[in-house]
Structure formats: C-alpha cells, structure tokens
Subunit: 380 residues, 2 copies
DNA sequence: CTGTTAGCGCCTTCAC
DNA sequence: GTGAAGGCGCTAACAG
C-alpha cells in the first residue's frame, strides 16, 4: 500500500516507462518534438495515446517557474470595444499553448491592483493591461513582473514596457473638426461617466472648438474644469452607456442650450440614443441636427440615417498585443515601445448636410468619405 | 554555489523560518486562519508582510491536485448576451480565491473539445459551459472531469451535472403568441446563422403559428426543414448578427412575401436592423409593421418606437452558476439539477397597434406590459 | 540526441 | 494546535 496521493491519471513517468525512454525525453518530445529523434518521438506518441496521457500544467509551471497563462485586465466586459479587444486577443493566441485569464477591473484602480496581485501568483507568461492610469502599487507590480507587459488602448511616452493604442485626444479633435467643416457651429459633447480615455476625447473636442473660436462650455454635459467632471442626470455612477442615457443626456443639453445644432458623442451607444431622441422629436438628421459617435460599431453604418463615427481598431490592438507578447516570449527583440494604430474618421449621412433626407436604402453602401490617419491592418 | 533554480522570491519556508514555526503552519494560516492559534497567526502575518511573501499558486495546485481556476466556455465574446453572462460570473466570483479562465469556442464543437482538453490540464476547480450540444468527446470529458460542471443558457433533461437556463422554445412561442394576439397574421422569423438555441426559438415560433393555423414557411428565412437550415443572403457564415444583416434579411423576406406584417427576430440586433429598414422605407411601426426581438438589450427600450422583446436573465444565469459551483466546492449538497430562470415577454410600442405613432417622448417609461413566466432575481 | 539527479514550493499524511 | 517527512508531476542542469 503506497502513500501516493495522485488522482490516478498517468504521469510522464508512466509514458516514459511504456515507451522505454527517460522521462525527460518524453517531456522534450511533448514541448518541442524537434528535440527528439524520430524513432523515439513515434514511440512516445504511441504511449501517450495508449495511456491517454494529459500533461499537468501545474507541475510544468512549478518546475519551470513560468506558467502559460496570459493575464488580461480590462475595465469592462459589457462595453463592445473591450469585447472586440478580447476577440483580437483570442485570435492572436490561436492554437498556441497560451491561455487567457481575464480580470474585470470595473474601472476601479484598487480592484485592478488586487487583480494584478492575484494574477502574479500564477507566474503568468505575460500581461496585457488596459490604459495607462494604473495606481502606484500596480505600476510597481508591472515593472517588477517577471514577464512581458503590454499596455493597450491608449498612448503614453512612458509605458511600462510596450504600449499599443491610439490618441483619443487626436481622434476626438479630428471628428470635431469634421463637424465644424460641414458647418455645424453649436456642437455639444455628450458623455456619461468619464474615464481617463473619455477625458482625452473631451480635451480633443475642446481644443478643436477653441481653435475655431466657438467653444462654449454650456454645450458639454461635463463641467468646465475638465479634470473634475460634475455630471448631470441620474447616470453619473453608471460606468457603461445606454441609448436611454443618450436620450436623457441630449435632452438635458437641449434644455440648457436649445440652439445646439450637433453633438459629438463619447461613444456610439450614446449616439444611437441621440438619434432615437431626434426621431422622437421629428428632427431631421443631418439637416436640423448633426450626430457623430466614437468607435464605429456595427450599427452606425446600418442606422437610418447612417451615422458618422471615429473608427477605432480595437481588434488590431488586442491582436497585435498578443503577437508582440509572443515575440517577446520567443526571445525576439522588440524595440518599438510605442505603437500607434491610429483611427479613421468615417463620414456618413448623419453629418452630411448635403445628403438628401429622403430615403437611404443603401445605408450599407460605402461611407461618404473615409479619412485615414494612418494605414491600419485588417480589422476583422 | 547552490543549484537552486528558484526565481528568488520568498517561499513558505522563508516565512516559517522568520516566524519561527513549521512551514505547514504557515500554509494553514494562509488558507484558513482559524486552524492556527492567534499568537502564531500574528507572527506569521508579520513575517509574510516583512518578506512580501506571495503564495505560488502553481505549487499549491500541484500539491493539492486542484487549482483555483474556473474554466468558462462561451461560444462568442462579441454577442452581448455572453458579455452579460460573464459579468454575472465575475460578480458571482467576487473576491473569492477563484479565478476565471474563459475559452471562446466560436460555436465550433471541435474547438470546444480542444479548449476543454486544454482547460482540464489545469485541473480546474470547476467548469461552466454554454449549452448542451457538446460533442461526444467533450461530453465524456465533462463527465469524467474531477470537478463540478455547470451547463448554462439552455435546459435539458440530461445535464452532465447541473444546468441553469431557460427554454428558448417556450420563450419564442410566447412572443409569437403575443404577436398573434395583437393582430398580426403574416409573421416572419428573421435570423442569420442558427445555433442550437436559435433552432429552439425557431421551433417555438413555428409551433405558435401552427397552433393558430397561420404558419407559412415562406415567412422564415430558414428552410422548411428545421434541422438543416439553408440560409439565404451573404450572411450565412457569420456567427454574429449585425443591424446591416437585419436590414438585408428583412428585405429578402419582403421580396419573397410582400404581405408580411411583422417579424419576430432571433435577436435584438436584427430587430434594430429591421427597425432601421422600416424607417428607411417610411413604414410605420407598429401600425404598418410589427417588430419583436429577443434578449431585451438596452437599446430596445430606448428605440423610437420602443421595441418589444423577450427579456432573458443572462446575468442571473452566470451569477447563479458560480454560486452553485461555490456551494458544491464547499461540499454543500445540491439536489436541484435543473434550474429554469425563465424569461419575460416585454411588450412595447413596436408591437402595440393601438399605440399612437405620433411622438414617444417617454420611451423610457415602463413597458406597456410585462408578462412574467416566473419570478426572476435582480438582473443587474 | 538522451539520461540522471535533484529541485520547483506547497500540501497530505500521520504522529505528537 | 503543531510539526516532520515525503510526495505532487515535471523540468533545469549537467553529463555522456
């Protein structure tokens, strides 16, 4: 009667015994078949199959002081943008040995710190974290983490290691300029709860309007001080947007400034709400009122009228983050610490004052114009 | 010169030495403080802090033949419903020691099998898998998995262990009946690619219409044989829906049967597309045409007109799955193998022929009626 | 290319 | 309530 406390499943030693080789040879054959001669590899394969052997990753991770888990920290699971980032990450992982462990920080820096500490206990193979506004403790953990760290969805001069994203400020500024160019003059900014990236967008919006000499603080539902935003309405605690929220917030802006003739929305969901509100008020978009969103989700193109938006390359960001991670794990040098994936200004009917407001059977047709900020990879 | 191959971080032995106790006492103090006397516990706490000790979860998992990873298999990351399920799962996990590892099967049973095999290598603490249509190999793995297994988002008489979900057939049937009740007679079924749950919904739709004696196969864009669906359009490979897809598919149905007076959509995103198409065609919803969706996502209530939908309790499903898992891990008995969380038929303006088609400033007002199939928990 | 030896860090077992 | 001994399954290190 042995005192083994195994769960009965075959181990690498069993495979080795059956194949008539050493355990380490089995180990090598499993991890990198090229390290083992054809003959032994074949014997081992047969033994593995016969025994139904399954490697124990916990043992592997312990012995090699390195797991195959990639920790991913996102601030939200409900927002479509992060779902797209995750899709890119999964697509980048493909059928490699790497596994994803997602932590949901809910835009809470303390929670992020806690999740990071938890992740580190697994000795992750790599880390992908959203944004650049980690707290000091998190930042320290990332810097001392014994693995590649990729920050995503924003830009910074001072990334922990590598950052892949785009400038929210520039993107918002470009879209606001477009609204100005087509003739809108009293352009509002519609936003619910503001995270650090939203603030970047707000500042881009403000800058564009100030440069045109038409900035009016009453047209944003954020307070004048762009740092400490005092939001109105009953939505100030909600960290995700809904179309209902868009309807209420735009109504609020109209109450304050009835002459508002367009809105730039912090995200597409709010823009959809704004459109519904215009429809309910029988306002013609874009003639009476212009609407632009941010992210260019699916529904923007299909809406009636089709809506303008800033296309962001979420999939690319997630995908490229994983590719960079894998490169680093493979020991390839990576000198490009800051990667700007850019954005596109997609101009559609909702901001095209010259568009006929009659019918738009062909909303699925190409965008009216597409102004690229830089070449971007395949985004789907 | 030692030949240690540690990464230099303190171990439980270091803590034990500093605290002047045995290693196992430290281990116990960390896992369940009540197992250790107050005095030693305090000493240990101090030593832990002084050393900045962090447990190595890989070692723990190896020694205990059980990790703290909960494997979750979902067919899609992009669809909102699964984002909601995941949110429920994360909320159910809270600050426990459990970690989530999500696998994205992309509605591919082989991929599901592969991911399951991968997950099992981690000796997971538990598994949560979507649906009931696993292939034989997956089913076998689930049955032999040495941990609790919860299936979600559907119902079955024969779950692996426990299942938490609702009847897609009944839900669709109830909504179709509602459409019949308010007077629609030529009711279409709008769907893109069909998964097994979509098929359940289709069968419920068909049954309701057959019972009313008004089923017409030309009104679904699925072929007559409900098992092997031959979809039209260019969308038949897309496993997610878009509003653009909704617009194209409904147009296709109209081409085939111009007298169609309502659609029941397989999901809300298609319903949104249908609404946009109606708007583009200047059709009055609900008077000229009725639209109902499935899931009751945020935008259904905010739409103009507000749209009817079947509210499903995705958050609850995810949350309760984790709670059940935790109970089982705590050794509490769980005799309820099949849990039906039900659904609600939410009737709004888009199917209310008596509604005034003028304005609907108060789309955010309570639904016209809410028909519950059973009491449901807090869903947000 | 292959094997031997020993260690990864924690936990189970069993004795005290 | 506490501790000593040894195993969990795999792989780094070095030799051959």
């Amino acid at each position: 009667m042995s005192k083994r406390r195994t769960d009965g499943r075959p181990t690498i030693a069993d495979v080795a015994a059956l194949a008539g080789v050493g355990a380490i040879t089995v180990s090598r054959a499993l991890r990198d078949p090229s390290l083992v001669s054809d003959m032994l590899r074949e014997k081992i394969d047969i033994a593995v199959r016969e025994l139904g052997y399954v490697p124990n990753l916990n043992a592997r991770a312990l012995a090699s002081t390195r797991s195959d888990v990639v920790g991913v920290l996102v601030p939200s699971l409900t927002q479509h943008i992060f779902a797209d980032v995750l899709r890119g990450i999964y697509d980048g992982i493909g059928h490699t040995r790497l596994h994803i462990q997602v932590g949901n920080t809910r835009y809470d820096l303390d929670e992020e710190e806690r999740l990071l500490a938890e992740l580190l206990r697994h000795k992750p193979a790599g880390l992908i974290v959203s944004g650049i506004d980690q707290n000091a403790a998190s930042r320290r953990m990332l810097e001392k983490a014994n693995c590649p760290v990729i920050q995503i969805m924003d830009l910074s001069d001072n990334p922990v290691n590598k950052i892949i994203g785009f400038s929210h400020h520039n993107a918002a500024k470009a879209m606001t300029r477009h609204l100005i160019e087509v003739g809108y003059r009293r352009i509002g900014f519609l936003s619910g709860w503001m995270n650090s990236r939203s603030k970047g967008r707000l500042s881009g919006y403000v800058e564009a309007l100030e440069e045109a000499g038409i900035f009016d603080p009453r047209l944003t539902n954020a307070a004048g001080d762009l740092g400490a935003l005092a939001l109105r309405g009953s939505w100030d605690k909600h960290q995700y947007s809904t179309p209902a929220m868009g309807r209420e917030l735009i109504s609020e802006l109209w109450n304050r400034e009835p002459r508002m003739d367009a809105v730039f929305c912090n995200n597409d969901v709010l823009a959809l709400g704004a459109l519904f509100e215009c429809q309910a008020r029988d306002l013609s978009v874009p003639n009476d009122f212009g609407i632009a969103g941010f992210n260019d989700e699916d529904f923007m193109e299909a809406a009636s009228p089709a809506m303008s938006s800033v296309r962001t390359h979420r999939w690319t960001v997630g995908h490229d983050a994983v590719i960079a991670l894998r490169r680093q794990l493979d020991g390839e040098p990576d000198d490009e610490r800051i990667v700007d994936v850019g954005f596109d200004i997609v101009k559609r009917a909702s901001t095209d004052r010259r568009a006929q407001p009659l019918r738009d059977d062909d909303a699925a047709a190409p965008a009216v114009a597409l102004q690229q900020t830089r070449a971007a990879g395949d985004d789907r």
